[in-house]
Homo-oligomer: 471 residues x 2
Amino acid sequence: MLSDAIKAELRAIVGEKNCLDRQEALVAYSYDATPMQQALPDAVVMPASTAEVQKVVQVAARHQIPIVTRGAGSNLCGGTVPVGGGIVMSLHRMNQIVEIDEQNLTITVQPGVRTVDIHQAVEAKGLFYPPDPGSMVISTIGGNIALNSGGLRGLKYGTTKDYVLGLEAVLPNGEVIRTGGKLMKDVAGYDLTKLWVGSEGTLAIITEAILKLIPKPTTQRVMLAMYADMEQAARSVSDIIANRIIPGTLEFLDQGTIRVVEDFKQIGLPTDVAAILLIGQDGEAQIVDRDMERIAEICQKNQAVQIKVAKTDEEADEVMTARRSALAALSRMRPTTILEDATVPRAQIAPMVAAIQEITDRFGLNICTFGHAGDGNLHPTCMTDARDHEEIERVEQAFEEIFAAAIDLGGTITGEHGVGIVKAPYLEWKVGAAGMEVMKGIKRAFDPHNLLNPGKMFAKESRNRVVVNRA
Amino acid sequence: MLSDAIKAELRAIVGEKNCLDRQEALVAYSYDATPMQQALPDAVVMPASTAEVQKVVQVAARHQIPIVTRGAGSNLCGGTVPVGGGIVMSLHRMNQIVEIDEQNLTITVQPGVRTVDIHQAVEAKGLFYPPDPGSMVISTIGGNIALNSGGLRGLKYGTTKDYVLGLEAVLPNGEVIRTGGKLMKDVAGYDLTKLWVGSEGTLAIITEAILKLIPKPTTQRVMLAMYADMEQAARSVSDIIANRIIPGTLEFLDQGTIRVVEDFKQIGLPTDVAAILLIGQDGEAQIVDRDMERIAEICQKNQAVQIKVAKTDEEADEVMTARRSALAALSRMRPTTILEDATVPRAQIAPMVAAIQEITDRFGLNICTFGHAGDGNLHPTCMTDARDHEEIERVEQAFEEIFAAAIDLGGTITGEHGVGIVKAPYLEWKVGAAGMEVMKGIKRAFDPHNLLNPGKMFAKESRNRVVVNRA
């Protein structure tokens, strides 16, 4: 609990109406998009500037109050749930595009700008910001940076980290620091920029970012390839890459996902196939056309039962929207949807999908898998019910085995969602005891009093999810 | 000085002939490619495996002996000069390409592999490893990773950091740790991989790396554009980018550099022009041709006095070799050559070149400038004589002003050469006092006893170079 005196300090900084402590406000900021994770903050503050963020951090540092920074709260790892109480700091009011620099090909943004607004602003100028996380219509760039968000274009274009050139951040001691700049090359000291991208708000609070832009591809095309057999789809993925083609998008949906997406969107997906690949290419028209032909040949050689090339932009949009709606479609099935994020080297997709299927069957669960086949980033998604404790226990055991399978195949426990609360118990599986020690050392170096987003990334011990009944 | 007992321990690990302490060996490992920097180690060890590296580190940790890891020693920041004495560990025997994985598009290498050998090995398979530092025919990949080396292709393809997917490293406490993997997406914990790239051997010793490959561009073309005026050349650079063309190479040579390069290589460069742009594009033939035409138009519009497109691969090679020989050519002029690395946002190239010229004239020095115009990474290069203490003092003052000018223009003190010894006194200019504290905290977290490459990156206080007479 925060004392009235501390709340008065916070109100003096951000203004009366931007410091909330009514119960309904606290509840509204007690959860994010992650199922079964909830904790009440003691106050919610909504600063409008770096100076206000700095002052809030100074107050928090003085009184040793935890701060959990958040944007839209669309993350899927419990990354913004205030498990240690304290202050939730929402940066949604810092939502200005500061500058688009067409000479240096950069955009400077405040953390509360929505990802999709960046896309639209730069594309209007013929420029392109590739990272496109599934949540991009609601997610903010600050959250994307905190979690190093990926998306459908990761294979060809990389993820958020590849586009962050410089940051302004407030350190846990209240100092403001700037890293990088409008610079394509900068090796002055340790790379704080890349370290902070993906550090989940545990090291510093990002208050401004300079992002790299590239020229917008002039042409985009999309096709669907349907398969009676998962192995053939996986082999197509490998063969496309082995033929030295890097598609702009190379997505995968299994039969379960296809069925619910078709039920939701009705765009004519065949619900009797085992797998669909959604393959897109972008770039210059003649190259895109040539690549699409070669890709279609490769899919045919691998026994695709049907190949459907989107003929118009509208058709292409429809297909992409269908893929993007996979989570929403799956969420309609049962009360609780758990979207996971195991990632393997792309050559291991077929064994990974087989492992997920075997584990799903053995635990008697309903898990559908879709995701970014091109970069091995799969989203096994379990439709379940948080109120059924016996089932949830099986879900946890199944995901534990799925993470283990990913590690065994040379993969990782999270490709783009982050560690947060839900993957913390498994982080050591990937990075080892020595890796955990090193990471904890970094955390201590930045935040010795553990004030920034405590309880994330580093688990106390438990390897099981905490089940909170939200029914 | 190391005791005989410690040397016996080291010999037992790496074998008699791979542990040197004769005076001539110590001298051979007392310097790198950086002028005026020299210090004798106490011993040189040459391990052949990660296990041997680990054992050497354990010995060093037990006896609190500094370790300076090195590859070819081609760095230009004094990064491998053993200023604290102790052990120089050369990794040149760990020179195996472990695997080229054509399905996952990765190459796994030991640190002692030469950069050019990676290029040749992957290009033979139609694949491409873009980073091409000027020293690539002698530099090793371990050194490239330690310093986050750039090169001529940085503008379009990025630098070493953008291609490192995973690392094996030995920590200062002797533990071996693996990060990342053959994974395009991995957000499991803090990004140790990217933190170690560019950490100059101060945090961990890299013993293996997984690098990302991309398909090799099928076509490469090169042109030279000559200008009577530097401003016109700089405006051409800005206009090319503003026209949404990202060339594979976009290099700049000033008149002084042109003259010495022509004198050295005799390929017919006009020595009366103020500046030459060397502009290359790679990719698919039809796109490359179209881009080259558009680039030529832009250069013409900006009053290029002559444009010369290389007609054959041999002509293109000749032009690229001429550019790559700039440092060698300049080095012939006087006893000491100091190659610097100030970097600015690309839109600031013209003011930066003007500032360098003004400073050069004011201090009465001989400084030529060439570099990577496309990414604002300039190499002002001073031809001087280390024995002339009065002149060297002016050189130091001039470079100090050049770094200050770069910072004032939104740039940095080093784009691709690293901090090492020579930039350490200026690092705070770029990252600020708070940045220095944070970086020192990271160093302490990894290496509390300051055993890995001590005396680098963090200067005690001096802002002047230590002049060591090598004449």
